[in-house]
Symmetry: C2
Subunit: 197 residues, 2 copies
């Protein structure tokens, strides 16, 4: 335990995800003892972040404007929408540079255990976006776990009535991985999704 403010700072850092008491202490002392660390900058960013960051009216991605940079970009393929659970997934997909369409962030996945149903996700907004017929394909890129699969199959059923191609990201062996260490479900998926060469 430390005098007042040092302990308070440790406690606050300890409330962040993935930071235990030891890491929080290490961070607090780093801030105290490293003159080159710009603590004023971090303080200002934290002060302003919630006021400055909104969520895009169209796709739900994080944005400093009403519409995010991707939705504003006319060079993006307007006929393709990739549906993801979270704004972090947008960033992960952007890093691949494989996808040049638009996104739709659901804000989670269907999970009866966590009490998240379809109404808690941005599904109505998705249907509104699809209504005018511009979009020709919806790629379901929810996570390949129980909740993500449930959400994908719910959405795919919802979209069957529309004249839209619905696809799902491939499951299989991770590139650079080792067959020996793959779990049986992943290996099974890799067989199911095998491609003729």
């Amino acid at each position: 335990m430390y005098d007042g403010i040092v302990q308070e700072l440790i406690d606050e850092f300890g409330r962040l995800p993935g930071i235990g008491p030891k890491s929080a202490q290490r961070i607090a002392f780093h801030i105290l003892q490293t003159p080159t660390f710009d603590v004023a900058r971090l303080s200002e960013l934290l002060r302003d972040i919630r006021d400055r960051v909104k969520f895009c009216d169209v796709c739900g991605n994080v944005s400093e404007q009403d519409r995010c940079a991707i939705c504003r970009d006319p060079r993006r393929n307007q006929t393709l929408i990739c549906v993801v659970e979270d704004a972090k997934d947008v960033s992960a997909i952007e890093r691949t540079r494989e996808f040049r369409g638009l996104y739709h962030v659901l804000g989670g996945a269907i999970s009866p255990i966590a009490g998240v149903g379809p109404d808690d996700l941005r599904i109505t907004q998705l249907m509104t976006r699809l209504a005018d017929g511009t979009v020709q394909e919806v790629i379901l890129a929810t996570n390949p776990n129980l909740e993500g699969e449930a959400t994908a199959s719910y959405l795919s059923r919802l979209l069957t009535t529309m004249q839209i191609t619905v696809s799902r990201l491939a499951s299989g062996l991770p590139v650079g991985g080792d067959l020996e260490y793959a779990d049986e479900v992943t290996l099974g998926r890799a067989f199911e999704g095998r491609r003729v060469l």
Copy 2:
């Protein structure tokens, strides 16, 4: 990559020790998406921390006043000083509730590789504290690694001329540990320091 401020916040968090790019992103989104997290509080603490926290004039521990809470406490044993490398070590020892004396924080350990010599540590201040003859025992609690041992042996040589007992924390098997997994140096130390029952 995200729009402006979100990416800036991720980058700033990524500069803290033990936080990689993925953790930084997770933390930034936690702050954005968790209304219960008191971001204003963390911002204010960071704004004030460096102005409010000083280092104790006497022992070098962190403190909000010129003298730290331990040095100010008259119930602490004034004849006993425990020498540690870092203020974090004071907190670790305080948690044991085994030690009721005073501390002296060196601010590091002697390390030729890192370019830290005796003059870079608070050794002169320690000698000044010992000059009036109040202190009867100095416990060297530097880390049981190369730098810590070097620092302890340097200090122990420096103190031989004075009428002061110099001791070193015991090395040996960690409590709750497994003999089988102990490294040979630790196990050797445990034999050396064995106690007759």
